[in-house]
């Protein structure tokens, strides 16, 4: 837990492209593998190949979702989107209760994101800027929880949820994920650099109590990082599969659970399943198109000291 000098306020959330730009004179030397080296055509070709590989399965989802099953599985598969998209979406919608599933997914991901942001900012602030007994030990404990797979505790969790009367309800998927160790770690990293001690001291001299400081000083400073953490948490909560699949049932699923059940149904229709997959992916793709830069920056800034 190193204390950076409080006067330094870098912007860790932005992509650190210019963070270590080499000094001008470096160009006199044979350039190293650092930033100053321009990518040649090979770099672009390699990136294009990987990029196409990354996007092709998503394109194939769209193609398969807009044809009939017979066309998709024909000996020469189609390569352009067809005209059956809305027919398939409609069929997926009715077969898998997708309407309810979408509402459930929004509720679950929304609640988890809101709670994670609030609790992790508080905890991250405490770990970054407050002095208290056992701080380092407790922070190590937080990080260690990252290494415990959820698989290890699902059996009693399932029994607990039944006891609490939450069996099959959304509460059973929301409550276990209200906080995240990654979130605490991420906010701590950000706040320890972005929040100067002077601001906290000044607020104290002005007579603010600790919670007042959180509201008026910490939260405004933390906002950019909270944005990123919010998006990362939402993506994770929206895509979560294992525990929701065990905890929820066909009558009350999230989108991912409904999708799993749609494909597990008796003789699933491939194009209808793909239409369901498309519905579950599109919202996040939209988020990625709009906020891709922030998400990329967030993952990179959260990772540096990992």
């Amino acid at each position: 837990m190193t204390m950076t000098s409080p006067t330094k306020v870098p912007e860790p959330v932005l992509p650190a492209r210019s963070a270590h730009r080499a000094p001008k004179r470096a160009s006199r030397f044979k350039p190293g593998a650092g930033q100053q080296l321009k990518g040649g055509p090979f770099a672009y070709i390699a990136l294009a190949v990987v990029g196409i590989g990354s996007l092709l399965p998503l394109y194939w989802t769209l193609v398969a979702a807009s044809h009939t099953q017979d066309e998709v599985l024909a000996s020469t598969p189609p390569f352009l989107p067809g005209d059956r998209l809305f027919h398939n979406l409609d069929a997926a919608w009715t077969q898998a209760h997708l309407g309810k599933a979408i509402v459930n997914s929004v509720i679950v991901a929304g609640c988890i994101t809101a709670a994670t942001l609030f609790f992790c900012t508080l905890a991250g602030y405490a770990f970054a800027k407050m002095r208290f007994r056992g701080r380092n030990v407790l922070m190590t404990g937080v990080i260690l929880t990252l290494t415990i797979p959820p698989q290890l505790s699902v059996v009693p969790l399932f029994m607990m949820m039944a006891d609490l009367g939450w069996g099959g309800n959304l509460e059973s998927v929301i409550f276990p994920t209200l906080v995240s160790a990654f979130g605490v770690f991420f906010m701590r990293q950000y706040l320890s650099e972005a929040l100067p001690y002077e601001l906290i001291e000044a607020a104290k001299i002005d007579g603010a109590n600790n919670f007042r400081i959180v509201l008026s000083v910490v939260l405004p400073v933390a906002r950019p990082a909270m944005m990123v953490l919010g998006m990362l948490t939402f993506v994770q909560a929206w895509n979560d599969f294992f525990w929701p699949y065990l905890a929820l049932n066909q009558q009350n699923p999230t989108l991912q659970v409904a999708l799993g059940q749609l494909s597990a149904s008796y003789t699933p229709d491939t194009s209808i399943v793909m239409a369901g997959a498309l519905i579950s992916t599109l919202p996040l793709l939209a988020v990625f198109v709009v906020f891709g830069k922030q998400i990329v920056g967030g993952i990179m800034s959260g990772a540096v000291k990992g």
């Binding site: 059996v155 906080v179 990625f288």
Partner: protein, 332 residues
């Protein structure tokens, strides 16, 4: 630990009548005591939610799993627990399907982690060049991360399908194309590894890229002054500087491969998915746990599987630690 934070009201001035001297000092004392309490208690109040939630829904169930593993508990009557001692562990440790799942998990773990991290390292190196539209490339490479396990598994199930699959169609141009991917012992593991690699390479690439950008450029300058080629710089400067990050991604990927569930479950779907193929050829430990607990309804053995996974994780952690120590020593 769950002390609530005093709000503004706690410092409200006392009633007007008591404004003479002794009461004033008393008030100040009271006030400063409150301040001190606020300073002492606040951090604990802020971190309490994390530990409360983790304790209730993470640590407690984790330990309780061990207790359940010593009992007979059925899905149909979860209130009845009957003590059976080590019977559940005995049952799974003598089940060849369990050992198949262990080796599948291990193989798929290696087959997905190693290529993924190598590719990520190379990609990060490329992205570290000065590029046009660098944000665009980063975002594109990260796109699979936005796709859920379920969607990814389903679309790849279609790609790897035996009849009418996209991959077999592409392979028939080179004279192959009759592969029943999900049926083969190796091909099914390849298929699942491909799904994992597709989803996670971009994420790991960005982690490596971030670490590469944090390498001080003087190191490269010094290396190039000493006449090191670019490949030598990559090997002797970049890789050693990234060692902690690489270790971190290996740990995360190892834990991730212990959790593989959606990919095998949905590769073929239905009853085949729940047993990891007709010969359990791609059954992972998570699928085995799910099958025992949720499909067959025996929660006791399922809990025993969970603790077996915990034991495996601890073994892996120990091996990892030893290797890390060895590597560090040999590097000096």
């Amino acid at each position: 630990m769950a002390t609530s934070t005093p709000t503004r009201d706690a410092y409200a001035p006392p009633p007007r009548g008591s404004q003479h001297k002794p009461a004033d000092t008393r008030r100040q004392m009271w006030r400063s005591r409150l301040w001190r309490f606020d300073d002492k208690a606040s951090p604990f109040a802020y971190i309490a939610p994390f530990f409360l939630v983790f304790g209730a829904f993470g640590l407690y169930p984790l330990i309780y799993t061990g207790w359940i593993a010593l009992h007979r508990v059925e899905m149909t009557g979860m209130n009845q627990m009957e003590w059976v001692g080590w019977e559940n562990f005995d049952k799974i440790l003598h089940d060849s399907e369990f050992w198949t799942a262990v080796s599948n998990t291990f193989l798929i773990g290696v087959m997905s982690t190693v290529p993924q991290l190598l590719v990520a390292l190379g990609l990060a190196h490329l992205l570290n060049y000065k590029l046009r539209a660098s944000t665009f490339w980063r975002t594109v490479i990260l796109t699979p991360y936005a796709t859920s396990v379920a969607s990814a598994a389903l679309v790849f199930a279609l790609v790897f399908r035996a009849d009418g699959g996209l991959l077999n169609w592409a392979l028939h141009f080179v004279g192959l194309g009759d592969t029943n991917w999900a049926n083969g012992h190796w091909t099914s593991k390849i298929a699942i590894s491909v799904i994992v690699i597709w989803r996670w390479t971009g994420y790991n690439t960005l982690i490596y890229l971030a670490a590469m950008q944090a390498v001080p450029s003087d190191l490269y300058e010094a290396a190039s002054l000493d006449g090191a080629s670019r490949w030598q710089q990559f090997r002797k400067v970049t890789i050693p500087s990234l060692r902690p990050t690489i270790l971190f991604t290996i740990v995360i990927s190892t834990i991730g491969s212990m959790q593989l569930f959606g990919e095998p479950l949905l590769l073929e779907g239905g009853t085949l998915g729940a047993t990891g193929g007709n010969e359990n050829q791609y059954e992972t430990l998570s699928v085995y746990l799910y099958n025992y607990g949720w499909n067959l309804g025996h929660l006791g053995p399922a809990a025993a599987v969970a603790w077996a996974m915990l034991a495996l994780l601890l073994i892996i952690a120990a091996v990892n630690w030893l290797i890390g120590r060895f590597v560090r020593k040999s590097a000096v």
